[in-house]
Amino acid sequence: VILSGLGKTIYISVVSMGMALGLGFVFAYFRLLPNRFLNRLAFSYVELFRNIPLLIQLYFFYRGLPAVGIQLPPEMCGIIGLSLYSGAYMTEIIRSALLALPKEQLETGLCLGMSPFETYRLILIPQSVPVMIPAMTNQCINLMKNSSLLFYITVEELFHVVYQGAVDGFRPVEYFLIGAVLYMGLSWCIAGVFYLLESLFEKVLVPRWFQWQFSSPSLIRDAGDISQ
């Protein structure tokens, strides 16, 4: 029973991690654009979702929306709430990693006739990925821990199972300790995976990416040679 809860927690965390990353990249790109509307949109998204407690956001999706006729299954509410909440943090992480890059990178890309999106995708992101990974590790661990809140909106994830066990068996200490150990194990797993990813990105993926992207005979080949 506990294993099914563990599986659910992992599933929810992984799905919302992916969605949060996607949101983060999109909104960080919006923050970078000179377009005033998109800029404001990304700014308000970040500030709005960062400054409201996750529990209130979950209540909004789970209890507020049915009042106006939109009824979502609890698991989906949880995934949406978690990804929106962590997406705001991800946006800030990605944006600060991008701001740490020297400005010349961007100017070179634009001078070579690449569009802003191409510059973002081909030059800025690959370079800043190793920088943003440590902060992302923390955020993903937080996301996994926050997924325990979903127990209150009746999603049967790990904490729900542990809580049920504690209530049914009148053995709160044992069950909660098992839960604590499992959550610790999960956060160590996330930390380990991200540690591996960091070294992988730094040593293998990023250099390969530049070789692969800039190996076609074109003007931008020179940029590829410089960045190696």
């Binding site: 529990l55 209130i56 956001q57 127990f151 504690a166 200490v173 300790l177």
Partner: protein
């Protein structure tokens, strides 16, 4: 720099927006909360109910703020001690501090709240009020985070500053008392304010174990009258306002400190 901006132009625009939000805080903000709570309840409730429910909401709000302040102060105290232990490692106590910090940083807060109230404290023969036990678990949980921040502050202190303190003939305790703690604290203020915001948001979790703070007060009201959406939006707005003000404060402090 015509195609993309790296935040410069948006940073120039933002202060106006921030001032617009931040200038509302002090006296007007309090009045605004009052008007908002009374007014929005007034849309769908009779006058007697409005009075009762808004007092409930305001009590909840004060409890939330008091809860946050109290657990921040106690967490900061414990965290400062733990952070110092972890960075200095006297008599091998640093390993214990590290184990404590890693443990509390890797378990979710609700697990801790439930464990404290239903598992651990009754095991010790103590059956405290739910408010006391959740304050206790908040103190434990947040102290781990504060300890890491303080440790970062202590690590940022340069060797020469310590050597200067030793050169002045200060005893180890005096070094900390007069040189290291003030500097470390000063450098970690922005991070501490950020953690305070996270703490304030986390206090909403205490509603799950049954502390009647702001989230729970609203829940009690909408469980009776079924106006979920309005009350949740109101709560979101109030939380947003407080946290946004604090985060602006931390940005300003960051500028002042650096």
């Amino acid at each position: 720099m015509s195609e993309l901006n790296f935040g410069q132009s948006s940073r120039e625009q933002m202060p106006q927006v921030q001032n617009l939000f931040a200038s509302w805080i002090t006296p007007i903000g309090c009045g605004l909360f009052l008007i908002l709570i009374y007014g929005s309840l007034g849309i769908f409730e009779t006058p007697e109910e409005v009075l009762q429910d808004s007092t409930r909401m305001l009590n909840g709000l004060f409890l939330t703020l008091g809860f946050a302040v109290f657990s921040a102060l106690s967490g900061l105290l414990v965290g400062a001690i733990l952070g110092t232990l972890r960075s200095e490692n006297p008599w091998g106590l640093g390993y214990w501090a590290a184990a404590y910090i890693e443990f509390f940083r890797s378990i979710p807060l609700i697990l801790l709240l439930f464990f404290m109230h239903y598992g651990f404290l009754p095991l010790l023969g103590v059956h405290p009020d739910i408010l006391v036990s959740s304050l206790f678990s908040f103190c434990l949980f947040e102290s781990a985070y504060f300890a890491e921040i303080i440790r970062g502050g202590i690590r940022s202190i340069h060797r020469t500053e310590r050597e200067a303190a030793i050169g002045l003939g200060l005893s180890p305790f005096q070094q900390f008392r007069f040189v290291i703690w003030p500097l470390a604290f000063q450098r970690s203020i922005p991070a501490l304010v950020n953690q305070l915001i996270a703490l304030l948001k986390d206090t909403s979790l205490a509603s799950i174990v049954g502390v009647i703070e702001f989230t729970r007060a609203g829940e009690i009201i909408y469980e009776r009258n079924y106006h979920e959406l309005e009350i949740i939006l109101l709560q979101a707005f109030v939380y947003f306002w407080i946290c946004y003000t604090l985060s602006n404060l931390s940005k300003r402090l960051e500028a002042v400190v650096s």
